[in-house]
């Protein structure tokens, strides 16, 4: 058993005593098959009953026990200690992007508030039927992944966009929006798409991929974000920089096979957006001075006609 000793380096914080969080080490023998959560329970029982953490079901259903293991958000109840030992150490810390209340417990309120921003309820048309509103299995299939979210906030914790801007609606909320936009019983899809296309919405996601990588279910927020963007583009919600950027790609790649970076920048801010155009000048000038500006007459690839033929069927190929 001595060989199974592991050092748990746990981030501690007592708001009444500590100015800032600090690490505390716990030596503990790891039982075969032990999860991080079970081991934390043992540390509380055998070494320090003051260690604060949030947990409930222990079965990856309630979503309470998300925490950072070796710097990345995971469910403590779903993660084997044996997978996490690095040089004999497992590092445990609270999830990110939320205020720490004590040890591994964070103030989860901003996460709930972000969910509230996407109208997380069905907005059906017409009066309620006598019985339930039915769906076919295929109709449910399109929202099946986004309904699996257990609201654990692992995605929220590791989201790079939220790290610099707490007003961003965040990956879990976008996955929740997806769950209603694509619900055959919901009549609010266009309103939802319009609202979500605005600032702090779907186009503010940086595409860093952390949300889907950390998600312990099949929700995979980034994939849902991509599907929302596809739908917003298809339904003509084009009055925002994200959509204009996508249109710029469509236009230049469809014409030349390659991206025309100069055109893309102008197209994204909008040709009649004077402040936006002026804001491009500093970087444009810097690049020009360094001989770094993309060619003013952009290249085309060889055999560009093949690519033009694909783009000529752009709308047909959406189906």
């Amino acid at each position: 058993m001595a060989n199974n000793k592991v050092l748990f380096r746990i981030q501690r914080f007592d708001p009444e005593k500590d100015e800032k969080p600090h690490d505390q080490d716990f030596d503990i023998e790891i039982l075969p098959g032990a999860t991080i959560l079970k081991t934390l329970h043992r540390i509380r029982a055998e070494q320090d009953p003051t260690l604060a953490l949030r947990y409930s079901c222990g079965s990856a259903i309630c979503g309470s026990c998300a925490m950072k293991i070796n710097g990345h958000a995971l469910l403590a109840c779903k993660t084997q200690v044996s997978e996490c030992v690095r040089d004999g150490i497992v590092r445990v810390a609270p999830i990110g992007n939320l205020k720490i209340l004590r040890d591994l417990v964070v103030d989860i309120e901003p996460f709930w508030e972000s969910l509230g921003k996407v109208n997380p309820y069905l907005m059906p048309e017409g009066a309620a039927p006598e019985k339930e509103r039915n769906q076919t299995p295929a109709q449910f299939g399109s929202i099946d992944p986004s309904t699996t979210c257990i609201l654990c906030a692992a995605c929220y914790s590791d989201c790079n966009a939220l790290e610099v801007d707490s007003s961003f609606v965040g990956p879990a909320s976008l996955a929740k929006a997806h769950r209603f936009i694509f619900d055959s019983r919901d009549a609010g899809d266009q309103q939802r798409l319009r609202e979500i296309s605005e600032r702090t919405g779907v186009w503010d996601c940086t595409h860093c991929g952390e949300c889907s990588t950390r998600c312990p279910t099949e929700t995979k927020p980034l994939e849902r974000i991509e599907e929302i963007r596809v739908q917003a583009m298809a339904d003509g919600h084009h009055g925002n920089a994200g959509a204009r950027h996508a249109l710029g790609f469509r236009e230049t790649v469809g014409k030349r096979g390659l991206l025309d970076e100069n055109w893309l920048a102008l197209r994204s801010v909008g040709f009649f957006n004077l402040p936006g155009l002026i804001s491009l000048m500093p970087v444009g000038l810097r690049m020009m001075m360094r001989g770094k500006m993309p060619p003013l007459i952009p290249h085309s690839i060889d055999k560009v006609d093949e690519v033009k033929k694909i783009f000529a069927r752009f709308e047909e190929l959406r189906k």
Binding site: T206, E226, F249, L258, L259, I301, V307, F314
Partner: protein, 290 residues
């Protein structure tokens, strides 16, 4: 060793110095390159969020072009690499979808993606095919004393299923490469984060904050330079550096190098040959000691 070289758009546009370094390094190592002058943009994840079928057709076409030459693809852009590998996985793991994409592609181009293709980034070719031992033999100017902060770039890391990193949550491949060149890798909290480039046109403030945090993190950890496999990360961290430094009220001045530039420097190529004067933050001072 011969590859179909997929340059991507940036190495033909705002990051042309990258292509110079790639050509110098590959020639020195005896890696033959056939530039794919007929391959289209990978879509950078953007076309796929407008019309997934069109994005998959463009990439299936690129794959078929390499297959018809009997060559594997070498990418020199982290984003192109991530997008290509993701598209390849989508096609390979769903034969019915692959058949549909191929049927549409045939209508327009007469081409089809068969599925006999490896797609690697240049640094993966250096690590896996050339090998660190052979690379070390080519180092004539060890980058002794140079502290290098690797910035991996999102597309090289996530999703973990589409890269060859041993541990995508805590990779050490770039650190190994940096050490093989004689330099010292610098560990810092932002090395696996987003550079902010994908939202530069949608939310400039957030984009600049992400880039600023990355460069400041590397500087605070003692780095002389940052090195990245992705020319889009390079654009954000380099071209916008004066802007985010002034917003942060800090002097940063950390040069950003493309990986092939760092390799080429250790191989003895000069900064003039690598056209590092095109960088907004010129590395002259940081590289003076080597």
């Amino acid at each position: 060793m011969k590859y179909a070289l997929y340059t991507g758009c940036v190495a033909k546009g705002a990051g042309r110095e990258l292509l110079d370094a790639v050509n110098l390094v590959c020639e020195k190592l005896g890696i033959e390159l056939a530039e794919m002058t007929d391959a289209a943009c990978c879509g950078a994840g953007v076309i796929g969020e407008d019309n997934p079928m069109v994005a998959d057709m463009l990439n299936a076409r690129t794959f078929s072009l390499a297959e018809s030459q009997g060559l594997d693809i070498m990418n020199i852009c982290g984003t192109c690499q991530g997008v290509h590998r993701k598209a390849q996985r989508k096609l390979d793991s769903d034969p019915a979808y692959k058949e549909r994409v191929n049927a549409e592609l045939k209508k327009d181009t007469g081409r089809e993606y068969k599925g006999n293709l490896k797609i690697k980034q240049i640094y993966e070719v250096l690590l896996q095919e050339v090998g660190l031992e052979k690379l070390r033999e080519q180092v004539v100017r060890p980058l002794q004393g140079l502290k290098v902060a690797p910035f991996y770039g999102c597309y090289a890391l996530r999703p973990p299923e589409v890269n060859d990193l041993k541990d995508p949550d805590d990779p050490d491949e770039l650190e190994g490469l940096i050490e093989a060149l004689g330099a010292t890798p610098v560990d810092y909290a932002e090395r696996l984060k987003c550079c902010g480039f994908p939202i530069m046109m949608m939310n400039k403030d957030n984009s600049l904050k992400l880039a600023g945090n990355a460069v400041a993190g590397a500087k605070d950890a003692g780095a002389d330079v940052i090195v990245t496999p992705c020319p889009l990360c390079h654009l954000n961290l380099d071209s916008y550096q004066p802007q985010f430094a002034s917003k942060m009220g800090r002097k940063l001045g950390i040069p950003i190098l493309h990986i092939p530039q760092l390799v080429a420097l250790a191989m003895g190529f000069s900064q003039a040959e690598l056209r590092t004067k095109t960088h907004v933050v010129r590395p002259t001072g940081a590289l003076a000691a080597i």
